[in-house]
Structures are given as structure tokens and as C-alpha cells.
């Protein structure tokens, strides 16, 4: 059943100094459908693939608003995500109450990372089984962070988490240098292209299974966005226009040959090596 004797408890180091329970928690993130995040000089956006359990079921919620200037996309255990996102909302509100300012996004991410770290060290707990992409907008501009159950958090130009996210990352690594100067529409198209890479063979992105979260000034197809560019989640008909903008995969030159998704996906590393 167990791979070895050092993996049933998160308070045990393996002889190599590894924490197997934490590494397994990182696998839980990969069970969730993918989310992609990227940023330009003006915008930070999230895109996520929603699953539904059947024809009669609704699609899952993949994105949450934390505050006007912060939004998240999740991959992994939704119930853990709700605990952590609630905590983030409380932190954000406390910052507004005490200092009357929007909480700096990096500190918000650190606060949940620090919470997650404790769950990797104490008996009777398990590490969180969820990863976040967090976008934040503050006076230093738009930001994108990744939070993972190991208690690590990193800032990225663009990244992806969840099932087959390595394929999305391959796309992003190829194009990220051009993201800084993208318009919102171009950025979303890039995001959709990256998200598409995570799909299973016979699936495609639709207005039902795709969510887009945006921070930054209103785009060409948007109305009613507050001047400060508050976080909003676009779903259903609203995203049709963006889906239309995608370049069909076979036309995309040169064709991207994503490595076949394998179990040994080296998505997120536990150690900071």
C-alpha cells in the first residue's frame, strides 16, 4: 500500500530529507483541473477549466474574489480552498479596517503560505490539498503568485497549476517574453491558448467550461468596470468573444508539440532547490 515506511505521516523525514506526505499533497493539486495565470504591464488575468460531474450537473467554481484588488483560481480540494480563501478575505478586510488600505498581495499570499507550512510540520494534521494562483493589483502594478501546499509561494510572469499544467507551462515559457506589452485581449488569447494545452484529447474550451478572471482597466469588450480595474470573473456568454479570438490549434505556427502528460509530471517542486 505505502511506497515506504516514511510516507504515512507528515512529521517524518525520509532518510533523504524528503517529506513524502507533502509531496503527495502536491499530487492532489494535480488532480484538479488546470488554471493558468499571466500578466502584462497593466493587467493580471486568470483562466481556469471547469469540470462538471455530468449532463445534469452544474460546472464547478474555480475562481474566487478575495477583495477588489485580489482574485484567485484554485486547483485541488475545493473545501480546502474555501477555508483558505475565507482566511484571505479576513486578512484583506482586517487590513482595510486597521490601515484603510488594500492589503499588499504578496503579504496575503505569504500569510496563507505560512499557514500551510504549519500543516506540514505537526502531527494530526494534513497538508492542504489545494494550490492557488493569486493575482493582485497594487501600486507596484499587477502581480501573479502561486501558492502550494508545501507552504511555498512564488511570483511568476506566467504559470499554470493543476492537471496537465506542464503543457500550459510549455506554451507560456515559449511566449511569456511578449506578455508585458500585450493588450488585455491579446493576453486573454494567450491564456486561452495555454489553457487549451491542458485539455484531454477530445475536449475543447467552451463558454460553459471556461472562467476568466481579470484585474486591470476595462478591455474593449467590457462595460461597467470600475475605474480602478477591480477583480471580475467572466463566464458564459461574456467569454464567447474571447473564445472566438483563438487561433485554431492546427493553424498555430509552429505547432506546439506538448509532451504527453505523464504521472511523473514535474509541476511544482516541494523543495526550493
Amino acid at each position: 500500500m505505502f511506497r515506504n515506511t516514511y510516507d504515512s505521516d507528515n512529521t517524518v523525514f525520509s532518510p533523504q530529507g524528503r517529506l513524502h506526505q507533502v509531496e503527495y499533497a502536491l499530487e492532489a493539486v494535480k488532480q484538479g483541473s488546470a488554471a493558468v495565470g499571466l500578466r502584462s504591464k497593466t493587467h493580471a488575468i486568470l483562466l481556469a477549466l471547469k469540470r462538471s460531474t455530468g449532463e445534469l450537473a452544474s460546472y464547478q467554481q474555480k475562481m474566487y474574489r478575495i477583495d477588489d484588488h485580489v482574485g484567485i483560481a484554485i486547483a485541488g480540494l475545493t473545501s480546502d480552498a474555501r477555508v483558505l480563501s475565507n482566511f484571505m478575505r479576513q486578512q484583506a478586510m482586517a487590513e482595510r479596517m486597521i490601515y484603510n488600505r488594500p492589503i499588499p498581495a504578496n503579504r496575503l499570499v505569504s500569510s496563507i503560505a505560512d499557514k500551510a507550512q504549519v500543516n506540514t510540520q505537526e502531527y494530526g494534521r494534513r497538508p492542504y490539498g489545494v494550490g492557488f494562483l493569486v493575482i493582485g493589483l497594487d501600486k507596484t502594478g499587477p502581480h501573479l503568485y502561486e501558492f502550494s501546499p508545501s507552504g511555498n509561494s512564488y511570483e511568476y510572469f506566467a504559470t499554470s497549476i493543476g492537471a496537465r499544467s506542464q503543457s500550459a507551462k510549455t506554451y507560456l515559457e515559449k511566449h511569456y517574453e511578449g506578455f508585458a506589452d500585450c493588450s488585455l485581449e491579446e493576453l486573454i488569447t494567450h491564456g486561452l491558448h495555454a489553457l487549451r494545452e491542458t485539455l484531454q484529447q477530445d475536449k475543447e474550451l467552451s463558454i460553459k467550461n471556461t472562467s476568466i478572471g481579470i484585474l486591470g482597466p476595462a478591455g474593449a469588450h467590457e462595460t461597467g468596470v470600475p475605474a480602478q480595474g477591480s477583480f471580475r470573473i467572466l463566464e458564459d456568454e461574456k467569454i464567447d468573444v474571447y473564445l472566438q479570438s483563438m487561433v485554431p490549434k492546427e493553424l498555430e505556427a509552429p505547432p506546439i508539440t506538448a509532451p504527453p502528460p505523464t504521472a511523473g509530471d514535474v509541476d511544482i517542486q516541494m523543495t526550493d532547490n
Partner: protein
């Protein structure tokens, strides 16, 4: 390690028959696999430097994703090992420093914070309900006694150093540190030395990309612990690379 799998290595609260606590030793393994971190105590200050291994080119370089933490105005800390554990200890060190200030209405010495942090780390080696910290911590700062540098190990033990290195390249780094006349160096000169040493030890780990992170405190920073300014950082890195080419 012959005791692997004998059952004496599954808990921090268990001794092996020959009196070792394997969980603490395994924690040190986590440190040994991590990027090299070094600290220098010189004439008028301290320099800390980290070989920050970069796992993706999508990471934002520079100020975010820091590995060197600030503890108080005049104290900094760098860790090797699990980054998340390092942040946990940094937070603890900050609250110890702040608690000291509240109680004594005076800034803590580096030793004060180190002693308290050492005790905290040691407690995590006593119980089966927790695991030890997977980090070695280098604390440095300038207090009323002058520059001070300490290393806290996962066992909770700590020593003062003139020059310290932890992480993967520590052996080579220590050999390099021993060649320096630390008591005569200025902090600015030390910045160039640590940059050179980090670049040198990275030679053995060349397949991975890395970023050099440095912070310092000394006469030039008015006794405040700060990241090394951009221009000096760049100059030190260029010289380090040049020195490396000559070396080969």
C-alpha cells in the same frame, strides 16, 4: 546509514541503540541538498548571500521570491533547506526580536535572537508530534558589540562564526572562506568576495539556473540591514564571473 528501516528513525522522540536521533540527521539532509548560503562577518559589518536555484524561467527575478529575510532593523537571516520552514523561523525570529524590544525597550543583540531561536528549534527535536526544521539558519547583524554571525542547525545547536556556509556547496565555500582575512575586509569588499564564492560553488551545480541574492549591514548602510544596492550587486556579479573565467 545502516539503521535505515530498523524503526529507530521514524520519530524525533526515539533514540537509536547507539544514541542517535535519526530524524534530526534526516532534517540536515534536506539542508545539504539546498542551494548554498553563506555569511561573512568582517571588520564593520555582515554580508549574507544565497545561491537561489531557479526552478522555472517564468519566475520573476529580483525582489520577490526572497530567500534572505529581515528580522529587525539591524538583523538579517538567510536559510538553506525548506524555504517554507525558513519563513516560519524568520517569523519566529521577528517576534522574538519584537518581544525583546517590548520587554527591555532596547534593540536585541544578534546573540539574544539566536539564543531564543535555538531554543525554539530544539523543541521541535523532542516530540514525535512534530518534525524538526529542515533548515540551517545563518543570522547576522550589527549590534552594540559590533558585527555578529551565528548559525542555528536543525538540532537547535548554534555557534558564532567569522564565516559560515551551509547547503550543497558548503565544503568548497568554507575552503574559500578560510583563505580570506575576514577581520581586515570592509563590508563592501566582502560583497565582492561572497559573490565570487557563490559563483564558484555553483560550478558544481551548473545544470541548474541560479540567481545571486545578497544583503548586507555595515557602516555604509548606517547600521540597517538592507539588500545590496543594484549597482553594487551588478558590479560584484560581473567581477565574480570574470574571476571565474581566470580561474579556469
Amino acid at each position: 546509514m545502516t539503521s535505515i528501516g530498523t524503526g529507530y528513525d521514524l520519530s524525533a522522540s526515539t533514540y537509536s541503540p547507539d544514541g542517535r536521533i535519526f530524524q534530526v540527521e534526516y532534517a540536515s539532509k534536506a539542508v545539504d541538498n539546498s542551494g548554498t548560503t553563506i555569511g561573512l562577518r568582517v571588520k564593520d559589518g555582515i554580508v549574507l548571500a544565497v545561491e537561489k536555484l531557479v526552478h522555472s524561467k517564468l519566475l520573476v527575478p529580483g525582489a520577490s521570491n526572497r530567500r534572505i529575510q529581515t528580522i529587525d532593523k539591524h538583523i538579517g537571516l538567510a536559510t538553506a533547506g525548506y524555504l517554507a520552514d525558513g519563513r516560519h523561523l524568520a517569523n519566529r525570529a521577528r517576534s522574538e526580536a519584537s518581544n525583546f524590544r517590548e520587554f527591555y525597550h532596547s534593540p536585541p543583540q544578534v546573540k539574544d535572537v539566536t539564543e531564543r531561536l535555538g531554543q525554539y528549534v530544539q523543541v521541535y527535536t523532542l516530540y514525535s508530534s512534530v518534525r524538526p526544521f529542515g533548515v540551517s539558519t545563518i543570522l547576522g547583524g550589527v549590534d552594540k558589540t559590533g558585527p555578529n554571525l551565528y548559525v542555528v542547525e536543525p538540532s537547535g545547536v548554534f555557534f558564532g562564526y567569522h564565516g559560515a556556509a551551509v547547503g550543497k556547496g558548503r565544503q568548497l565555500a568554507k575552503a574559500e572562506l578560510e583563505k580570506l582575512k575576514l577581520a581586515e575586509l570592509s563590508t563592501r569588499e566582502a560583497v565582492f568576495e561572497v559573490a565570487r564564492i557563490i559563483h564558484l560553488v555553483h560550478e558544481d551545480n551548473k545544470e541548474k539556473e541560479f540567481e545571486l541574492e545578497m544583503s548586507w549591514i555595515g557602516a555604509e548602510t548606517q547600521g540597517i540591514f538592507l539588500p545590496v544596492p543594484k549597482d553594487l550587486h551588478q558590479e560584484a556579479e560581473e567581477k565574480a564571473k570574470a574571476a571565474l573565467d581566470n580561474f579556469e
